[in-house]
Symmetry: C2
Subunit: 432 residues, 2 copies
């Protein structure tokens, strides 16, 4: 065992997260050295804005705008990518790995889209590629899935992995706000970006689910295979009705193994109000996992932010440093089970909440029930909610028994064509 | 890297947990081999009852009643101790380690009481000693604490780590049962043992807290240093009053770092009804951890049972097997921060719920308030709950502001001596 006196870290990107990681690296050197077995020394920072050094009190000469100066530095052992986004982060990570540098990243987009290629490069060059911070911020997830739950066959994941949408949904539920108002409040507080579309539309959650599901099921799941639907159609009244029916509404990332196929989808879901996931408020994340041995396990914590993220990034750095000091290589491994495919969204089966506006007259429900019945969709309950006398319309809420997505979609199309139906206002899937 | 074709496992104890582990080892050999890098082969089972082989369909000749036949077997690489209890498990583990065998155990009593000695033996002989299953059943805890949260300074742990008591408390809260009735029901369902004292009195939780707190704070905390108090004094009415005050009652294992000292205590606690821990029902466990970087993290799952426990035991076996195949040793490490001591219970400061029976007459509260005030205990609220006209007594419930334990104990002694006070019926600490 040849222990290196110090291990050099190169940091790409000194934004909010990068700044947080730099601060911890410089702020608790003794704790980190004790755990890593070597001092962790920040050798180079790749950053466009060379003036950022002043903010953190970092020596100016470790800053560079040239990737070559960082990746080609002989004393940089581990490169930490915190630039974010797909390009150029993907190319820089690939380049770093192929030069024999170990890489730590928090980049969910790159990992979920370019997994196999990056794994192959890391394996070829016998270097580590770690990405604990890519899902769930500081919550230990990737390592528990890959190391601690490894004896399990995982059957399902239900996850709140996007803090922005969970914050918005929490305010809508607790304060009766409409979506646009809650979004604005989230933006004012810095919980939503100026362009919030990736969060709001479930794209961010789909990246994260692709990573978790790939690990959990040993099936490569690309973001393109993950159905995603956002939260912008939800209205205050959906939360009121959900609550009356003892449900909460959450944006869930769901992955399930059903025989030889895998479901992977992100969309708003009615979940029982007394479930633990329903109690996860604000920007917190929670990941519910089901395994054949372990049963139900939930991991909960802050899913974002510089401090929580640096907890995960630095534990990855320390694990790599320990392996360097043990003289072993530890490239990422992943086993793919042959023959598993992602189930098309059309084929999933679940229950549905449907809210519609109809003519306030006799016989309407019979017409709607007929269409649903024709598509083998059975109704579990119908409630007439509100009547608008001036428009002569009524609002009705239908809860179905389990039905096939395709059948429901088709039935709703036909229902919408009925002259007595003003609009299908919303429909939300229900998980028990 | 010399990969062993098979790695031999010796199992000590084929009770409920041991049987569960044996079943998984034999039941999913391919999954385990893929993860471990070698086949895991059950070579020997140390068990008094030689007839147990029939139940699991295990070849009779791998059973033995002689430790020597197991520990001395040249093909046994890893010994799994699932006998439970302090003796002879401790001596057998020590003996196994000193023969150069790796050890996996689920034994919280042995680990919490004999930690330093076993660690020293394992380090001397360069073998692994893993104990993931000793706390929280299948919930990944020890590894996340030691590997994933390692960049954090942990400041607090609030944990529900005893399923038996949590089951009893859940039934008391939900059904208004008294303690003895709820205990009987737990026993009927197999959730409590015939002699439930170790669970009921908080001893089991104290073992587990000693393990978690030792790892989290780098301070060796023996079970003897953990104050523990059981749940048998709680009555149905305490749950009613708690609920009225928006609290739940849980048996919590609490460890906190307060400057240079550590609090470590197990006792019933009032916690806010809307906290996630308050929602942890039945036999489930949940461990709330606070770190300077990660913030608040909660781990939730089944804390016991053969399947959940085998999930943790087998992940420990696999980690050891991987290290054997990498040709590295990985003896347990633990850093102790110098100078940290366990705070005596007398010195802790918290809030209190006190229920007492007093004479139903004017001026009683003034006398009680005077005593509390003399001990610098300030009252946050007083509610007169019930009056028993025949006995001419009233029940009052006092909630205090933060106060020193010693002062409260002394004040309650003095209060109990007042002629107008019939009894101090109960007092429970409160955590915000």
């Amino acid at each position: 065992m040849v222990v290196k006196k110090s291990i050099g870290v190169g940091l790409m990107g000194l934004g909010v997260i990068g700044g947080g990681v730099a601060k911890v690296l410089m702020g608790k050197p003794d704790t980190l050295a004790r755990e890593a077995g070597s001092r962790l020394v920040l050798k180079k920072i790749l950053e466009k804005d060379l003036n950022k050094h002043g903010l953190l009190g970092i020596e100016r000469d470790i800053f560079t705008t040239q990737f070559e100066e960082l990746a080609g530095h002989p004393e940089v052992d581990i490169i930490v990518e915190l630039i974010g986004g797909e390009h150029p982060a993907f190319e820089l990570i690939r380049d770093a790995l192929s030069r024999g540098k170990h890489v730590v990243t928090a980049n969910k987009e790159v990992m979920s889209k370019h997994w196999s290629e990056l794994l192959a490069v890391a394996q070829e060059h016998k270097v580590s590629l770690r990405y604990e911070a890519s899902v769930g911020g500081g919550i230990p997830l990737i390592a528990p899935f890959q190391e601690d739950l490894v004896a399990n066959d995982i059957s399902a994941i239900y996850a709140i992995v996007n803090g922005t949408t969970n914050y918005i949904l929490t305010r809508m539920a607790k304060e009766g706000l409409d979506f646009s108002v809650a979004l604005k409040k989230a933006q004012e507080l810095g919980y939503a970006e100026a362009d919030p579309s990736k969060d709001i539309e479930g794209v961010d959650a789909a990246y994260k689910l692709a990573i978790l599901a790939t690990i959990a099921f040993g099936t490569e799941i690309k973001p393109d295979n993950v159905y995603h639907e956002g939260i912008s159609r939800l209205q205050a009244r959906d939360f009121r009705y959900a609550s009356e029916l003892d449900y909460a509404i959450k944006l869930l990332a769901i992955a399930k193994r059903v025989e030889d196929s895998v479901e992977a989808r992100v969309h708003p879901v009615f979940i029982p109000e007394d479930s633990l996931l329903a109690k996860v408020d604000g920007v917190y994340n929670a990941i519910h996992v089901e395994g054949d041995l372990v049963g139900k396990v939930i991991f909960y914590g802050e899913g974002a932010g510089p401090r929580a993220t640096s907890s995960a990034v630095i534990s990855d750095i320390i694990k790599i440093a320990q392996n360097i000091n043990r003289g072993i290589t530890s490239p990422p491994r992943l086993f793919f089970a042959p023959g598993r495919t992602v189930k098309p969204m059309d084929e999933i089966e679940t229950r549905y909440y449907v809210r519609m506006s109809v003519a306030d007259q006799a016989g309407v429900l019979a017409q709607i029930s007929k269409i649903l019945g024709d598509h083998a969709i059975s109704i579990s309950s119908v409630i007439q909610k509100e009547t608008d006398p001036s428009a002569q319309t009524a609002e009705i809420v239908i809860m179905t028994h389990p039905a096939k997505e395709q059948a429901v979609q088709q039935a709703l199309k036909e229902t919408e064509r009925l002259s007595v139906v003003r609009e299908i206002s919303n429909f939300v899937r229900v998980e028990a």
